[in-house]
Amino acid sequence: MITADGIPLKVSLARAMMRNKMRAMLLVAPLFLFILFSFILPIGQMLLRSIDNPALVEGIPETLALLEEWDRQDVPSEEVFATLAREMIRGSEDRSIGKVGARLNQEFAGSRSLFNKTIRRVKRMETGPYKEAFLKIDKDWGDVELWKNIDRMGKQYTTAYFAAAIDMRYNGDGELIEQPEYKQIYVKLFGRTIWMSIMVTITCIILGYPIAYLLATLPMRTSNLLMIMVLLPFWTSLLVRTTSWIVILGKEGVLNETLVWLGIISTDSRLELMFNEKGVVIAMTHILLPFMVLPLYSVMKTIPPTYMRAARSLGANPALAFWRVYVPQTVPGIGAGSILVFIVAIGYYITPALVGGSDGQMISNLIAYHMQKSLNWGLAAALGAILLSGVLALYWLYNKIVGIDNMKFG
């Protein structure tokens, strides 16, 4: 079949479809680019960073090549030391050697100054023998374990960061072993993060459900007022809300002062609500409550009151009618609210940092610590990757059990 201008209909149709598709693509292109640059690329980079291990490969490539033939029994030969010395001198110019020391130091304490000290002395040396000189500078160079670690860490990619993120480490021979007990922390913190997020989610359901119910059933004028009371804190800065909790819950804060004034507690037995887990759960519940109330409200709003009346007329008492007829219809709202609150809570950072004290820290605080203080970005990335996969697993589980299309935000 041919159209009026002589082109086959099929072709003409395909062109028209193509044009439409292009137009649609152009419309979403800004969003796509935005997501690509602000979301997909950074996350991909984080995942890369969690296994990327360039310091030794870039800093001392020739030494590493020589170590391939090393027997791993005795201290390496003069040739290895001479090569390392040469690479140290070269690396101290562009300062790539500093990164080698820093990376080794992350898993083998003391390497940083061992490298720095050695570089300073080696620079002044004219000729070898280097092995002897190295051993004279520091007897640690005679430690086979150090050389095994150099060899092990001289790979472009590593799973060492992930091992560290689950409280394990590699020994010189590449076997996975447990960290010493006094350094085990991450597994415990992942557990606590999940536990605290569950606590926050549950308190949000307990507190949010009646509020949402009131909002949905009260007459418009009263419910509007209530809605403003829910939304007003929601619009207030997170930092302001967190610090106001410090004022309220502190040792000499509003709450404690009031209780002492009322004579309920004595001035020596003031409640400790701040700088511990309790403070974090209270403050986070307050901050995340709107995330629970709003989806619940929008679901409850659509439930016709006639269902309850029908249940009553069929003989159910109010409690039974509520439990058997009303609550099941709000499950999508509870699901949506819970998953929102839980996922936001699991990555919470500012509130635990400000009111957490020592036992209210969450895993994000440790990620921030490795980003900002220890500069161990690889470990931070590995922790972040685990957290991310945890959230994805949760999403998958939710989809299996409840079904993601059952989630309603309004």
């Binding site: 640059f37 990327d52 300062r95 500093g98 130091n105 100054s113 720095n116 006094y182 500069l375």
Partner: protein
């Protein structure tokens, strides 16, 4: 992979730069960005360095606050988009940043002579000028307590004695300084502290001492927090930077007292991030702000000692409160008796290890 990482970093940084940074004032050549720790310390720098420098050269100085560490500098240097020009650093960070190529090497021999004609190399206190940074102040971490609630505090051991002195303590959330103090409190003299910390038993002993007060500690992270915590009654005694608490005592007339026993002193330095397009301007500013007069001027705003010997005779009274500043310096003889210098080499080596251990100790 390495290239992929670098390319994506460059792309992301480029996009961010197009969107946010290009419009900022920092790129203009008639201004540089000086980064410091905020609060009364930044004020002292603005009064002593920034304002006179702007008056002299017309160069504007943008003040930015940070909480220490090298993270931002490393991010800027790696993304090749450096917006910070001068950064106030702790010694350990200055050395580490230099080793790992995050800070620019400085032409140290261009530093001006002291006002009395001493060459800069002799005028600066030993160790306060490094390849990549120039020292400005000697500061110290001390114990301060509330005189209304604590009576008869004498030595650092009292800080760890919750029976004799009940009440909460404030401590910086890091093993640095706390481990040193824990050893001093259990009887180690100041000059033996780092020898002992170098051994497993020493570390165990220090953590065991910290254990005794663990439940009574509130941890702080920013320098402005401890004066606030003690003023709020959240703690009865706290570790604190001497300059910050001096302002609370002398200027705001708070009933606090400094105990100098076991003070651990350190220095702050100006460093210049590697790759800033305004290196020349930044270096001019560093030279200006570390001359004899400027360092002496700063001491009239906050009780931190100058790193130049020639500045000491010029130290006068506090700019607003009119108090003579010399007796309040960490280096004043009465305060310095049991002082310990923070050993940055020890911490450069062991901070990865000890921080991990400290974090685990905190969480358990």
């Amino acid at each position: 992979m390495k290239h992929l990482l670098k390319h994506t970093t460059a792309i992301v940084a480029g996009v961010a730069a197009m969107g946010f940074v290009a419009a900022g004032p920092a790129v203009a050549a008639d201004a540089i960005t000086a980064v410091s720790w905020g609060g009364s310390y930044t004020v002292s720098q603005q009064e002593a360095y920034h304002k006179p420098y702007t008056a002299k050269t017309g160069m504007k100085i943008n003040s930015v606050d940070y909480n220490g560490g090298l993270a931002e500098i490393r991010a800027q240097v790696e993304a090749k988009n450096v917006t910070w020009d001068v950064v106030d650093l702790e010694l350990a960070d200055a050395v580490r940043g230099c080793d790992e190529g995050m800070l620019a090497k400085l032409p140290i021999d261009e530093l001006p002579k002291g006002a009395d004609g001493t060459p800069a190399a002799d005028d600066f206190l030993a160790g306060t000028v490094t390849d990549c940074a120039v020292g400005t102040i000697v500061w110290s971490t001390v114990i301060a307590y509330d005189t209304n609630k604590v009576k008869g505090y004498k030595t650092i051991a009292d800080f760890f004695d919750t029976k004799k002195f009940p009440g909460k303590r404030g401590m910086r959330k890091t093993p640095k300084i706390n481990l040193e103090w824990a050893l001093m409190a259990s009887g180690t003299p100041a000059d033996k502290v780092y020898d002992e910390l170098g051994t497993e038993e020493g570390i165990n002993k220090a953590f065991a001492t910290l254990d005794k007060i663990k439940n009574d500690v509130i941890w702080w992270e920013a320098g402005a927090q401890p004066p606030q915590m003690i003023a709020d009654g959240e703690v009865v005694m706290t570790s604190v930077y001497n300059g910050r608490i001096f302002n609370a005592i002398a200027v705001e007339k708070k009933p606090f007292e400094i105990s100098w026993d076991g003070q651990i002193w350190d220095i702050d330095l100006w460093g210049i991030p590697a790759g800033t397009p305004r290196f020349k301007e930044a270096w001019e500013f560093v030279k200006f702000s570390t001359d004899t007069q400027r360092l002496a001027d700063q001491a009239s705003w906050i009780s931190y000692g100058p790193t130049r010997k020639s500045s000491v005779p010029l130290i006068g009274k506090h700019a607003t409160a009119g108090i003579p500043m010399l007796p309040h310096m960490p280096t004043a003889p009465d305060n310095f008796k049991t002082a310990l210098q923070n050993d940055f080499i020890f911490w450069a080596d062991n901070s990865d290890e000890l921080n991990e251990r400290f974090n685990a100790w905190l969480a358990n």
